[in-house]
Symmetry: C2
Subunit: 442 residues, 2 copies
Amino acid sequence: MKVIKPGVVIVGCGTVGGGTAQILWRDKSLLRERTGVDIELRKVVDLSFDHAKSLGIPEKLLSSNLDEALSDPEVGVVVELVGGMTFAKTVIEKSLRAGKCVVTANKALLAHHGNELLALARENGVAISFEASCAGGIPVIRALYDGLIANRIEALYGIVNGTCNYILTEMIQKGQSYEVALKAAQQLGFAEADPTLDVAGGDSSHKLTILASLAFGRKVDLASIPVSGIDTLSFDDVSYGSKLGYVVKLLAIAQRMKDGISLRVRPSFISKDHPLAWVSGPFNAVSIYGSAVGHTMYYGRGAGASPTGSAVVSDIVGVITGTAGIGFETLGIWPDRQSDAIQLPSEEIRSRYYVRCMVQDKPGVLARVSTIMADRGISIASVLQPEVQERDGKAVPIVITTHLAREGNIHDALREIDAQEFSREPSVWLSIVDEPNEFGGE
Amino acid sequence: MKVIKPGVVIVGCGTVGGGTAQILWRDKSLLRERTGVDIELRKVVDLSFDHAKSLGIPEKLLSSNLDEALSDPEVGVVVELVGGMTFAKTVIEKSLRAGKCVVTANKALLAHHGNELLALARENGVAISFEASCAGGIPVIRALYDGLIANRIEALYGIVNGTCNYILTEMIQKGQSYEVALKAAQQLGFAEADPTLDVAGGDSSHKLTILASLAFGRKVDLASIPVSGIDTLSFDDVSYGSKLGYVVKLLAIAQRMKDGISLRVRPSFISKDHPLAWVSGPFNAVSIYGSAVGHTMYYGRGAGASPTGSAVVSDIVGVITGTAGIGFETLGIWPDRQSDAIQLPSEEIRSRYYVRCMVQDKPGVLARVSTIMADRGISIASVLQPEVQERDGKAVPIVITTHLAREGNIHDALREIDAQEFSREPSVWLSIVDEPNEFGGE
């Protein structure tokens, strides 16, 4: 791989672009001392520069001319931080074709077009790095391609969306409803005005696509990942789960199974004793189970200008020193060179489940519910029928936890329960995620 | 840097040597697929081979002739896993002089002679890698030289000794004495027959020397690090601390201060809300605070054949692909090329403190204790005088927590308190470690 010039162009000077520019500019001498490389910020390309100017980036570095910036022979690295799927893709393609290495934090783009972009980089003899695309400042992509390279990855569980984790923490710790917690998150800047991409699980599924493809060394199909968000989560379920010893987290889950891999994004119950249960507020964490290393976890801030900038700059350093290029050329885990993952349909997932049925309060209902479940091979582990103050006529909850069951069977059973004359509201279910066998095996 | 041949010699086939050999041998095709490199285990050098044979390592790979193994031109990497300070040092020096890259897990040797060995590697144009020397399978050394390279490291707090953490967890969760917990750890293989190196803090100080030298990019002097272990910890203090909202952990602490760095190994109280408080049993974890990334934490198994082997093999892969060589040549944080750290004496540490005085139960004692502390500028934050069943004649505890104080002043105050006529036993003190300002500043 060729020598990469230490000149950098940042395209997009929003939150992360600004944070990155600030590290490169303000901490220039610190970076030189620590990295041994003289990284030079050559241009910050955007259409408006209010943010860049407020950060003290000198005017001579600001430009609206992408092509001119790319034609600079001293530029070895283009950092794409515009976000979105259209112009961002153009920026990356143009840069790769111009022989520049690319650093990006764009999880949506990578989840949809990552393999295509990786292949284009390879065609042009340059590298593409994306540590900042998952879990912000936490070096978890590096763990997958470097620190844990000696492991067959058995499972990965990620809290990879700080907005959701902040909202869930408020619900759990302060007993708030989803709506109130969301409003608090919006006021603090932890949630967007339109929070859909975060709270409905889409953002987590983008990150899961990237993490799973590296963990298993396979092409992962985003569209085939079942995704539920926290936007339909009821406080009652958070509260019943807590009584049963569980904490609810929005988990991005990747598991190696006998016949393929199982991927999903789901609000899930995990034991209060699992390290992921302790991750609160806007923090992210990823638990990775490797065949040799067992359980490791990586914790930190998953968003924000300077935490994400930290990851972007670590990629810039890797690209310029040449380690990124070697990894990109040599390692076998990059999905563009690999076959498609066998992604198991969600019906085939085997998990424990939490189920809440809302039923008429009359004799025989619990027996009927139990029979419907038993008929589908679902074995009940515990039943909690909370005391309800005024029973007359109102629906009462039956909360059930199951032993390991096939998810398709759970769906079938709940469909049948909801069709019964005693059923008052659609039943609710959540996965209960148990810690896997630490050193492999289902 | 030259191309490194993919042949590997492992010297020392004990627990970690065996684990490493097993990964290289049993998982050969997995490693080839994931790394893109055909790593070849050429020889396992030891004097006895019972363990190697029990792992299924073929006899033709077993040898007692180190010099012959080193003379093999196909060998690019020598893995030193004999441990100890004398023969291990010879193995590494011979290997480096023979132009082989070295991978080692030997924290004691690196803490004492790391700079000398790094310089010798540099002289011979080869790299030396040591991910497995700290925190076993957790890629925390990589976090310091790669993932967090864009950060000025402000502070590092490590639970880096699984034996101690196992014993402390038993004391906290089961209310056991140190002696009983130690015996349990020994029976389970978590503690050696002679546990001194672990429980007295020596092993943690070795790891702290390595971690701090990379975090701050300075030569660290092991002998100047104040070290206390858990072997003198009383269950009473664990219990009082718990009442005050703290968990006791043996912490390896490195903090950047205005005038230098402060390093120490200490059983310390941390808030029950800090992620390190949740690390239980034999697990390790390291919290690192970076100027850009804020708080990150790395969690996993700090010992054991295959977790440590995972780290050793990641180093072997880095050496053979060439990324280790580039990092070793380019980065500025390797301590052998840097100046000495300014290590502040322990008297100058500023921290909060927990103090337990054992005094005669009579009027005026608390007033006198408070006055002695106030005279040294120590401000009291809380006092806990637990009810004691039978008071007559017995010593009663006064438990005090302080605001930020200079450690030298604490020592002076306790010396004076212990000299009073009402003092019945030597006073006990422990640091209370608060989470630092996440984005820098004292």
